[in-house]
Amino acid sequence: MLRSLTTWVLVGQRLGIALITLVIVSFAVFFATEMLPGDVAEILLGQAATPEAVAGLREAMGLNEPAFSRFLGWLGGLATGDMGRSYVNDIEVVDLLGRRLGNSLRLAAVVTMICVPFALTCGIAAAMWQGSLLDRAVSILTISVISVPEFMVATLAVLIFAVWLGWLPALSYGADATSFVALIKAYAMPVITLTCVVSAQMIRMTRAAVIETINTPYVEMALLKGASRRRMVLRHALPNALGPIANAVALSLSYLVGGVIIVETVFNYPGVAKLMVDAVATRDLPLIQSCAMVFCVSYLSLITLADVIATLSNPRLRQ
């Protein structure tokens, strides 16, 4: 559908705001990590280091330059894809992070593909037959899933599927995931756990957003035109609830990249969240900064995408 110039101006503004936010966030990330206690050179050289050696290393690493110029250099590096080298194992951060990010994104993609259609269907169906047995069952289930911490879900899944039933491997990342069946088996448990955690919130928000639009006069008008319940909800209520639903979905999904540390730990899945925790333990500053930036970028792009969808679905901006 054709959209007016103002719509695109608004979308452009939203993207601009996202970019500015990203710069501010990178500033915060850089200086927050700078403020971590301890001198990097001393830590790297260990307790036996002579002051001369420490000074030499500081010089070599450029740590004596003012913080702000280092920040600009770092930001420039990020923009050109150079994230620096890891302090601990002297590998390019890009290589280290790239592999892990691939793993994380793959897991996130699988979970998204399963949980978004599932959650939207459940939420819309619950709203459509509000107060019915289905609605109450969905409500009770989502509340109980939200209330149970995810390590509990993950541990229970391991206990049931790996220990008692023995259907699935307890660790999801073996090197031998060569066959398709083995791949599905490896992914099954983290995906189930994450789907539970992520979709519960989505279902509740979708249901609330759709019910809110069902109570508007124009949906009652559709009823008085003789429309079926299905038509009322799908044709009249849902398109107007798109904005809030997109935002709820984006918020839930943003959790999948950076917030899944527990699931990654329980199932020993090598994703970015685990990488970051390891980096913090070893004080690997470039790695910490890069991980933090990856989380921010994924979060920002999801939220921005949701806002853009909300803007585009607003008929008042159409021409």
């Binding site: 124009y218 949906v219 008008m221 008085l224 035109k225 107007n240």
Partner: protein, 553 residues
């Protein structure tokens, strides 16, 4: 006598309140509607008129249900049908014109898609044919650009046009009964006439029967053949339109008619007015909204307004919606800072922004908003709402506040134990009184009343006006009374300002408004107020040039 089209017998509709109690909101109502006849259901809010009208479609709002009785429409008994069978009737046998078309149109669909949706739901005709029929209806309803208006979205057309479009939506399925649910209540008087004319001409040229729900007898008089007067879910009186207007039997009907009688207004103008400075003087006032560029806002609303009002007099401000009436009140109060001009009270300059005014200046001018529902904090008791200005302006301690709250409630004729209640537990009229008492708490000299009776029923509004007059006598107040209802303004004001598109068109003495009006817009506005005479609309002739100038709104 032919077989009636609609026959309602002993209808009882029950509702479950929030506390789970069951109440009967419609009690044993029976009436018939003949084919082609237009019957009006008239009554105040809560009288059950919309509930009855919706029940004819087999629909009850959530929480309500048909208890007993029967409704038959043609050869079908609506009360015995299943929900899918009722849905099959809606749009084809009986259709609905909503109160607020602006809310009843889906904002995300084109108008045409919504107008012809009935034909799609019930598989009445192919899309192309339906669109042609819709365009014909648009033309019959005197809509501008009938060929292309359907391609627009609801927010792109005006309120009066939407209301006519919603009539097209109701008529597309050729129903035998159309329900009009207060279809002109939300419109300006000048727009209301166009919409009423369009409805009448369409109904005159068809054999459809109609149910016209309204609280306004004068509007109903123009369109209905027969009137049913409702109160508290019961029928009070039924009769032909002329009989009800000229020879009412029931006391409640008489009360409704009495609200139309002109009320003599005695000015409370101060005696020593010559020696004192005017309570409000406005010079070259301009104000607007939006980003300010070079001291001028992007959206200018008020353009160079001048007037003065003497102490103890009341000033009415009339005009259609969007003419800048409320903005004028906001600019005088300082809620919206003016960008140009002066506002003086007692000869003392009031700063543009209310942040820059002294506490005493703030105290002297109070504003009362139209909707008490949104102006009163729903989670605070009436007592604490009234106590806040007492503390702020007068620094009263807890005991003195309590005493004063009781006094204030007494002034607005509410019982003192009402101070413990929440706004949500009060009726509309009571809430508006509390809203007004909140302004009184400051002990002001001038009260800006922004459409404070517009959301109230006729009888309740009349009582509110009496209260205002009484308080004016006792406390020496002055009012600026903003309203789109000319009879209200006539009943309480000394002088009336007519506003149009942000400009002050004319200042008229209220008592001789209709004779003295010189500007064509004032004349149009004044002549557009519906009269109780059933022939009024037919005989009304408007200056065609002015109508054309106003078109496209």
């Amino acid at each position: 006598m032919t077989h009636p089209l609609v026959s309602v017998r002993d209808l009882v509709i029950g509702a479950v309140t929030d506390s789970g109690r069951e109440v009967e909101i419609i009690r044993s109502v029976s009436f018939d509607i003949q084919p082609g006849e237009i019957v009006a259901l008239i009554g105040e809010s809560g009288s059950g008129k919309t509930t009855i009208a919706l029940s004819l479609m087999g629909h009850c709002r959530p929480g309500c249900s048909i208890g007993s009785g029967s409704i038959s429409l043609g050869d079908k008994t609506v009360t015995d049908l299943s929900e899918p069978q009722r849905a099959a009737l809606r749009g084809t046998e009986v259709s609905y014109v909503p109160q607020s078309a602006a809310a009843a149109f889906n904002p995300s669909q084109r108008i045409m898609d919504q107008v012809i949706e009935v034909t799609d739901i019930h598989n009445l005709m192919p899309r192309k044919e339906a669109e042609e029929k819709a365009v014909e209806l648009f033309r019959a309803l005197a809509l501008p650009d009938p060929d292309s208006i359907g391609q627009r979205y609801p927010h792109q057309v005006s309120g009066g046009q939407l209301q006519r479009l919603s009539a097209a939506m109701a008529l597309i399925g050729d129903p035998s009964l159309v329900i009009f649910d207060e279809p002109t209540t939300a419109l300006d008087v000048t727009t209301q006439i166009e919409v009423l004319r369009a409805f009448r001409s369409v109904m005159d040229h068809s054999s459809m029967a109609g149910v016209y729900v309204s609280h306004d007898l004068a509007v109903v008089a123009q369109i209905a053949d027969r009137i049913i007067v409702l109160k508290g879910g019961e029928i009070q009186e039924v009769g032909s339109t002329r009989d009800i207007l000229e020879n009412p039997q029931h006391p409640y009907t008489k009360e409704l008619l009495a609200a139309f009688d002109p009320v003599p207004f005695v000015s409370a103008r101060a005696q020593d007015v010559e020696r004192r400075k005017p309570i409000l003087e406005v010079k070259n006032l301009s104000a607007g909204y939006g980003a300010v560029v070079k001291g001028v806002p992007n959206f200018k609303v008020l353009d160079n307004i001048n007037f003065r009002m003497e102490r103890g007099t009341n000033l009415g401000v009339i005009g259609e919606s969007g003419s800048g009436k409320s903005t004028l009140a906001r600019a005088v109060a300082g809620i919206l800072p003016r960008y140009q001009g002066d506002v003086l009270s007692d000869g003392e300059e009031l700063r543009a922004d209310l942040k820059d005014r002294t506490k005493d200046q703030l105290r002297r001018i109070q504003i009362v908003f139209q909707l008490a529902d949104t102006a009163l904090n729903p989670s605070q008791s009436v007592g604490s709402i009234l106590a806040r200005p007492l503390h702020f302006y007068h620094g009263l301690d807890r005991k003195a506040r309590e005493r004063r709250v009781i006094e204030l409630l007494d002034m607005v004729q509410l019982p003192s134990n009402m101070r413990h209640r929440l706004p949500g537990e009060l009726s509309g009229g009571q809430k508006q009184r509390v809203n007004f008492a909140r302004a009184l708490a400051a002990e002001p000299e001038l009260i800006l009343c922004d459409e404070i009776t517009s959301a109230l029923d006729t009888v309740v509004a009349a009582a509110m006006l009496d209260l205002l007059k009484e308080l004016q006598r006792d406390l020496g107040l002055s009012y600026i009374f903003i309203s789109h209802d000319l009879s209200t303004v006539e009943a309480i004001c000394d002088e009336v300002l007519v506003m149009y598109k942000g400009k002050l068109v004319e200042a008229l003495p209220a008592a001789s408004m209709s004779q003295d009006a010189a500007h064509p817009y004032s004349r149009l506005l004044i002549s557009s107020v519906p009269q109780l005479d059933p022939d009024w609309l037919v005989n009304l002739e408007h200056d065609p040039e002015m109508i054309r100038a106003m078109d496209g709104r």
